[in-house]
């Protein structure tokens, strides 16, 4: 596939708007093409910068109060019409608040999952994806001491098809965590570990929106830590690595 034709759709891909089968083809291409990977990373960084800079204006409490008072004290032409307007306002506020709460929650969860996928892609596209290069968990685990405010166990991989490549420090919404990279039949799988209480959104496995995830992802909470296992390996392989971590913790 010619890169130029993909680059024109890169933003659509990163927005998760490329339809089903094309998304998988696009994934495969981005992972195998250094040029498109680098462009994807750059675009992700630009999108994050716009998102951060765009949240600039917040309304004052006085303005909020003024609007609320206007809504409540809207003049009524007649008793019947007035109550109709109040009822309509109540319906809008209730529906809007429920929708807002749902979308706000979903948006927060989706943002976490989206950032996890971004961290995975960005790290693999990096020229130095790991800070500690080792296949030995007894080397990688102590490397994190003093760098992250928690400890976690790495699983024994003997007699499995997984191999540890190394690890690095990472951040999710300014929360420090551990990022481990595993290899599984030429697929790279990332394992992220964060403190559950520091994460920006409440997560559970049911909050995954499979059709919006370009990778297979498994997440769970254990011992006050939130684990994410993400990669383009099959969901069975992702699940397999997740089980090893769960057994080790």
């Amino acid at each position: 596939m010619v890169c130029e034709s993909w680059k024109a759709e890169l933003d659509t891909y990163l927005d998760g708007e490329v339809p089903g089968e094309d998304m998988r083809t696009f994934d495969a291409h981005v992972r195998s093409c250094p040029s498109c990977s680098a462009d994807a990373l750059t675009r992700v960084q630009v999108k994050r910068a716009i998102q951060a800079a765009g949240r600039r204006y917040t309304p004052s409490a006085a303005f909020r109060k003024r609007i609320q008072q206007k809504i409540v004290s809207k003049p009524r032409r007649s008793f019947g019409l007035g109550w109709t307007l109040v009822a309509a306002a109540t319906v809008i506020l209730v529906v809007g608040t429920l929708t807002s709460a749902y979308l706000g929650t979903r948006s927060g969860r989706d943002q976490v999952f989206s950032e996890i996928a971004d961290l995975h892609v960005a790290t693999l596209a990096s020229s130095s994806p790991v800070d500690v290069i080792s296949t030995d968990r007894h080397t990688v685990k102590p490397w994190f001491q003093g760098k992250i405010p928690f400890a976690f166990n790495l699983p024994e991989l003997q007699n499995t098809e997984f191999s540890l490549l190394g690890g690095r420090m990472t951040y999710l919404d300014q929360t420090p965590g551990a990022h481990l990279i595993y290899d599984m039949r030429k697929h790279h799988i990332s394992v992220f570990v964060f403190q559950e209480r520091s994460l920006p959104a409440k997560l559970d496995h049911d909050s995954l929106s499979p059709k919006q995830q370009p990778f297979n992802l498994e997440t769970w909470s254990q011992g006050g830590l939130r684990y994410f296992v993400v990669g383009d390996a099959s969901s069975a392989d992702i699940d397999g690595l997740a089980k090893l971590f769960k057994a080790a913790s």
């Binding site: 024109a8 933003d11 659509t12 927005d15 708007e17 630009v46 999108k47 910068a49 716009i50 998102q51 951060a52 800079a53 765009g54 949240r55 600039r56 204006y57 917040t58 309304p59 303005f63 909020r64 003024r66 609007i67 609320q68 206007k70 809504i71 809207k74 307007l85 309509a88 306002a89 319906v91 809008i92 506020l93 529906v95 809007g96 608040t97 929708t99 807002s100 979308l103 948006s107 989706d110 943002q111």
Partner: protein
């Protein structure tokens, strides 16, 4: 009040004037109450109320682009400030669609509903907005 803060944020970006933005948001909620019958339950409330705000913003409705006088370019203090400057230099139509996509995280379908334009137009407008942003960013970031 649903979406009060994001609506205020977008209104400020569109008008560049806090007072005008507050007027715009006030008009939006007043219109939303008045036209509550036009909201179909089960459809996208966010797109509906954003469309009301857009319709209430005169330069978008008439197709006129808000003329901007770029402020003198400041020395680089932070990436965020630079990004804001670049965003402010964008034509309103491009600024708006980038903010809805990147800040409000609207799907293309929601943007299509909010703007009442086809999905293909959403994608092409986003592409043009992105390219214009990149064009403005290149000399600033050197």
């Amino acid at each position: 009040m649903p979406y009060f803060e994001p609506l205020c944020n977008l209104a400020c970006w569109l008008t560049h004037d806090r007072q005008e933005a507050e007027d715009l948001v006030q008009k939006t909620y007043a219109k939303a109450l008045k036209c509550s019958f036009s909201f179909l339950p089960g459809t996208n409330f966010r797109a509906w109320i954003y469309r009301i705000l857009r319709n209430a913003f005169p330069s978008l409705r008439t197709g006129l682009k808000a003329t901007e006088t770029p402020e003198s370019i400041l020395l680089q203090r932070s990436d965020e400030q630079l990004v804001r400057q670049i965003l402010e230099q964008l034509p309103v139509a491009y600024r708006e669609i980038l903010l809805l996509c990147e800040v409000e995280e609207m799907s293309y379908q929601e943007i299509s509903t909010t703007f009442a334009i086809p999905m293909s137009t959403v994608m092409s407008r986003l592409l043009r907005a992105t390219k214009r942003y990149a064009g403005l960013a290149a000399p600033v970031c050197k």
